[in-house]
């Protein structure tokens, strides 16, 4: 018997001739009714292109299929006329995208957006339409939204927006739901809630679901069957448990072995404090009216006391908007703050720019986005060398060149790469360049602001290993900021859990991970490690 959705020998490429990029090569997969099939792979492996091929939504004719067939309930979709496809899209096959805010039209109310889908495929009168919209919103757990039908997307939180997207997708009772990284843009606690919702809905409506993700935890939690994609090809396929327990293909083994794990090397107990804060606050004023009177403050960081010791990593964990990054920047005085900020026992809060400059050598920062943190118009040598020039290190050109070559070698890049430009490197390599830039000054303290978040899983593990090695070799102190508890666990000696600018819990990594005290920390752990949605109401939006 043929499957509910059957893709066989799918090819998809962009461009022609020399510039042709073969995004998907000979991909075959099948999904049964009521089944969840996960498509796993790193970025650029062709997952989304496969999904868009099912919907025939690629930018034709730039994109084209040189072969293959996509059969949905026995009907061939490949090259189907536009009219047929319009009938299927949003009606029998629905799709959820990654970024809820950009997938919803910012100028239309949620009611209008959901009823548009209904209006396209069904003939309902206005009362029926409104009833159906209400019903859908309560199905996706947005009961409170039934009183806010005229609200615009930005008035909802990320999790709520994604629920609206799901409601739109479910509007016409689709038989197949394609979820393209549905939770990647969400916080872990919200992610757990949305995944639970998807799972419940699927069971209720007996939909087939194609789940696209790079997160192996989600696959483990959600999928029945799985296809592993690498470089446009499906390298392994089968029952989820079988594939995860006995991976056959080298790439799958690599992927499964690549999750950041392990613990940081033990550090000296009585190491001296490198950087510390006492009740540090960063408040952004909210100004209103003609004369811009300050009517209140956004308390990004609201009274935090911490200390980072030599050779130690302090992990700062929290969801988006909790003030982690602001705290990190305040610590090295890239952000104005009040309260005590000390470096090696010396207060640096009152220092002016010129007095700060020699200290800048000791404290460095590595940012999240490896694409945005490197000047696109400077070569790698110029980028890494800049700090040396500012601080007058390494006399002449050749000597500086040698220092740059050494530091590139230390972060695992080849010295011969120094004349290339950032865009010629992959995300992981760029992050290594950013680390090299910080490291070249031989600092004592580095703020790592989500350095792994924009990277693929296997690359994350490599960067974590690199950072741990560097810490050991140079006795560095890290302030490691992340929303990802797995990475935090792999890196940190001590942990600080932040929420809305305040400390929720603070202590040694072992005590917090093994025995969290605060209900919020508990909910965070459950969501991050078991994808378990919180039902106590601590994290409700």
């Amino acid at each position: 018997m043929s499957k509910f959705l059957e893709i066989s020998g799918l090819h998809a490429s962009f461009g022609e001739g020399d510039t042709e990029v073969k995004a998907v090569r000979n991909a075959s997969l099948g999904i049964d009714k009521g089944e969840t099939h996960a498509l796993v792979g790193e970025s650029g492996s062709g997952k989304s292109v496969t999904a868009l091929s099912i919907m025939q939504l690629l930018p034709y004719p730039l994109a084209h299929h040189s072969g293959g067939s996509i059969k949905f309930q026995g009907q061939e979709l490949m090259g189907a006329p536009a009219r047929t496809m319009r009938d299927i899209r949003g009606n029998r096959i629905a799709m959820i995208f990654q970024e809820p805010l950009t997938s919803l039209n910012p100028l239309h109310s949620i009611e209008k957006q959901i009823s548009e889908v209904l209006g396209l495929h069904k003939t309902l009168n206005p009362t029926q339409t409104r009833e159906r919209v209400m019903e859908l919103l309560s199905v996706v757990g947005l009961e409170e939204a039934t009183t806010r039908l005229n609200a615009l997307p930005h008035e909802f939180s990320g999790g709520q927006q994604q629920r609206v997207m799901i409601a739109m997708a479910l509007a016409n009772d689709p038989d197949l739901l394609i979820a393209d990284e549905p939770t990647t843009a969400l916080d872990v606690t919200i992610q757990a809630q949305v995944l639970k919702l998807l799972k419940d809905l699927q069971a209720e409506f007996q939909m087939a679901m194609l789940l696209i993700t790079h997160d192996l935890g989600i696959v483990r939690h959600m999928a029945d069957t799985v296809s592993v994609m690498s470089d446009g090809e499906i390298v392994e396929q089968g029952d989820m448990k079988v594939v995860f327990e006995t991976p056959k293909h080298a790439y799958t083994q690599h992927l499964l072995g690549a999750e950041p794990k392990g613990h940081p090397d033990p550090a000296k107990k009585n190491a001296s404090e490198v950087a510390a804060t006492g009740d540090v606050k960063v408040w952004f004023p909210i100004r209103k009216g003609v004369i811009r009177r300050t009517v209140g403050h956004i308390k990004a960081v609201d009274g935090i006391t911490l200390a980072v010791r030599q050779g130690h990593t302090l992990g700062v964990v929290g969801e988006s908007g909790s003030g982690k990054s602001t705290l990190g920047r305040a610590l090295i005085r890239l952000e104005k703050s009040t309260g005590e900020v000390t470096f090696e026992g010396r207060s640096i809060q009152a220092l002016n720019k010129n007095d700060m400059r020699p200290l800048r050598r000791q404290m460095q920062i590595v940012f999240q986005d490896p694409f945005g943190s490197l000047s696109p118009r400077l070569s790698v040598r110029q980028i890494v060398e800049e700090g040396l020039l500012v601080h007058d290190i390494g006399g002449d050109f050749d000597e500086r060149r040698k220092i740059v070559a050494d530091v590139l070698d230390e972060v695992g890049l080849e010295a011969s790469m120094m004349n290339r430009y950032p865009h010629e490197f992959s995300g992981g390599q760029r992050q290594r360049i950013a680390i090299a830039r910080a490291l070249v000054l031989k600092p004592k303290f580095i703020v790592l602001d989500e350095p792994t978040s924009a990277l693929d899983m296997s690359v994350q593990a490599q960067i974590v290993d690199l950072l741990r090695d560097l810490q050991k070799n140079h006795d560095l102190a890290y302030l490691f900021i992340s929303h990802d508890l797995k990475v935090i666990r792999a890196m940190s000696h001590d942990i600080l859990v932040m929420r809305q600018g305040r400390v929720v819990e603070q202590g040694s990594a072992d005590s917090i991970f093994d025995n969290p005290q605060d209900p919020y920390t508990k909910a965070l752990m459950a969501a991050a490690f078991d994808l378990k949605a919180d039902d106590t109401g601590v994290v409700n939006v």
């Binding site: 800048r360 460095q364 920062i365 940012f367 986005d369 000047s375 696109p376 118009r377 430009y421």
Partner: protein
């Protein structure tokens, strides 16, 4: 020298716009010719051989007495008497066009403005001056004026925009309000008033127009800087302890260059139009200088002599079209989303 891939791509995009490339070559050729206007259209010979010696009247002024004449003033090589003197003991090499922009042709067969003839290819204006010579000199002065104005106002506008955008806050606020007030000043009236106090020449006009033309650049550059100043690589540079001026110059400015370069050809075309307009109204370059605007004005005053208006119109139209086509190709070259298939 290694061309970075991004510049290579830009070059490729530029060359793919055939119209832009052709316009660029034609414009460069015309500009090069116009730069050497003195050796192409002049009322002095390029080289004189007289009595066993060489003379270069284009570069050095010789009194008539050098050629056996009577006056101590500079020789008038178009004078029958001087020609006879020189021909008796040597020869002369003339430029292609035997008129400079201010040479009055006294040998006209018809009253000025006279129609095109073998002597005056596009006729003469109402003072008997050769139109072709005036066009060549006028083209040169227009393009040079436009280029200088564009480059200086770009430098000024980019610097001001950079500071406003990079520091933001109060500096930006004050700068923007000043620009709004300044932009409200009527430039034309200011020029007319100034023209009654001083005699405008090339530099005066340049300075007066510069007072207003820099503002166009501020907007684009400021926007780029506002965007870039909070990017991670700028923060990273601050964390390294790099000084503000160096961050502006090394990290942020390259991002604003694209917007500036895209803007430039159109400013150039605009400057030329403004100069022509002022000349047309009579508030531009001093009387007697070669100017396209003055030619247009003569065309308007002498509708029975269509060669005046028509030649002025075609030169201006072709020049501006070429510049706009080049500008379009430059814009394409710097557009990251432009793809050719």
């Amino acid at each position: 020298m290694r061309i970075s891939p991004i510049n290579q791509r830009r070059l490729d995009n530029f060359t793919r716009n055939r119209r832009g490339v052709w316009s660029l070559w034609i414009f460069l050729a015309l500009f090069l010719i116009a730069l050497f206007a003195e050796v192409i259209a002049n009322d002095k010979p390029l080289l004189v051989r007289y009595d066993g010696a060489f003379y270069t009247p284009v570069f050095i002024a010789y009194p008539e007495t050098s050629f056996g004449g009577e006056f101590l003033t500079e020789a008038d090589y178009r004078d029958e008497f001087v020609i006879k003197l020189i021909d008796a003991k040597g020869w002369m090499v003339w430029p292609l066009i035997r008129f400079s922009f201010d040479t009055i042709n006294y040998d006209l067969k018809a009253p000025a403005p006279s129609a095109p003839s073998l002597d005056n290819w596009l006729g003469t204006d109402d003072q008997g001056r050769d139109v072709v010579a005036r066009l060549i000199y006028g083209f040169r002065i227009s393009v040079l004026f436009g280029l200088t104005l564009t480059i200086v106002s770009a430098a000024l506008g980019v610097s001001i925009g950079a500071f406003q955008g990079f520091y933001g806050g109060l500096i930006d606020l004050l700068g923007q309000r000043f620009i709004e007030v300044w932009a409200g000043m009527p430039m034309l009236y200011l020029l007319i008033i100034m023209a009654s106090v001083i005699t405008p020449n090339f530099w005066w006009l340049l300075g007066l127009m510069l007072l207003f033309s820099w503002m166009g650049f501020v907007g684009v550059v400021r926007a780029e800087f506002l965007k870039a100043r909070n990017l991670d690589f700028v923060l990273a540079a601050k964390a390294l302890g790099v000084a503000d001026l160096k961050i502006i110059y090394k990290h942020v400015l390259p991002n604003a260059v694209v917007a500036t370069i895209t803007f430039m050809p159109f400013t150039l075309a605009g400057s030329i139009t403004t100069l022509t307009g002022l000349d047309f109204l009579g508030f531009g370059l001093p009387a007697g200088s070669a100017s396209l605007g003055e030619l247009l004005n003569q065309g308007k005053a002498n509708l029975h002599a269509p060669w005046l208006g028509l030649s002025g119109f075609f030169v201006i139209a072709i020049m501006l079209s070429l510049l706009v086509f080049i500008g379009e190709a430059v814009r394409d070259a710097f557009d990251p989303r432009k793809t050719y298939r």
